[in-house]
Amino acid sequence: MDRTQLLLGVSFALFGIGLVGVLIRRNALVMLMCMELMLNGVVLSLVTFSQQTATLSGAVLVFLIFVVAAAEIGIAIPIVLLLSRQRRTLDVEAYDSLKG
């Protein structure tokens, strides 16, 4: 197993763990952090592939992804704060009013 395959395996494992965390955890903040883990896994595969093709644009793209992730967290955390202010809980099962 060479280095590329090891890194791709780590990337897939991180993405899968993050997805499972979003599916099974109940706390809204923990779900948000699991989404960050998914994003980190995808970024790892992007870095691996950009190293394979030996281009510099991959590194620039990773920087842009970091900025977008920071903006995403900057929006998502106020939304979570707002939700917890309305229902006094972080449990996502309390927010099932959109369910049909």
Binding site: D2, R3, T4, Q5, L6, G9, V10, F12, A13, L14, G16, I17, L19, V20, G21, L23, I24, R25, R26, N27, A28, L29, V30, M33, C34, E36, L37, N40, V43, L44, V47, Q51, A54, L56, S57, A59, V60, V62, F63, L64, F66, V67, V68, A70, A71, E72, I73, G74, I75, I77, L81, L82, S84, R85, Q86, R88, T89, L90, D91, E93
Partner: protein, 170 residues
């Protein structure tokens, strides 16, 4: 196996172990610490690959800014929550099975012999700060400016969300 391979294995194991700890930890603060461990291991992997710029950004932006923000919010919201005691929702077993199936399918696709992914890694281009910043500010300056617009939009949106919620409350 040389030292570089051992260190790469160590960081890879640390990243996956941090992710697994995130699934079982009870308090959100411990989940945040496990995520920080995972992100630091990823920064180590990037440094081992020679992509020092991205490793520094990973530590500065993710661990330094995003996770500090997250930890601060967890401290702010430290209420006795029912989701601390009952960690898992009722889709625990189907969720874990779906995740395992997804990882198995991805791994099978990656490890299949003779596909593009398993091609031998080429000797990497140098990712030092000078060629990176030259490419950044010569070729990709428009994208750089667009990210600043995006950040301003995010700040305005965050303020709007908080203000709108306050009006809804009162």
């Amino acid at each position: 196996m040389n030292l570089e391979g051992l260190l790469l294995l160590f960081f890879a194991g640390g990243a996956v172990l941090g992710g697994l700890l995130m699934l079982v930890a009870r308090h959100p603060m411990r989940v945040a610490l496990a995520l920080i461990c995972s992100m630091l291991s990823l920064a180590g992997i990037y440094a081992m690959l020679g992509v020092h710029v991205i490793a520094v950004f990973q530590v500065l932006i993710y661990v330094g800014a995003v996770m500090v923000f997250m930890v601060y919010v967890i401290m702010l919201l430290d209420v006795r929550d029912p989701s601390f005691v009952r960690r898992y929702s009722h889709v625990l077993v189907p969720g874990v099975i779906a995740g395992l199936l997804l990882v198995a399918a991805l791994g099978f696709a990656a490890m299949r012999p003779g596909n593009v992914m398993a091609a031998a890694a080429q000797p990497g281009v140098s990712y030092l700060i000078q060629p990176f910043s030259a490419a950044f500010l010569r070729t990709y300056w428009l994208h750089f400016e667009l990210t600043s617009v995006l950040l301003v939009a995010a700040v305005v949106a965050a303020i709007a969300v908080i203000k709108g919620g306050r009006r809804h409350d009162g």
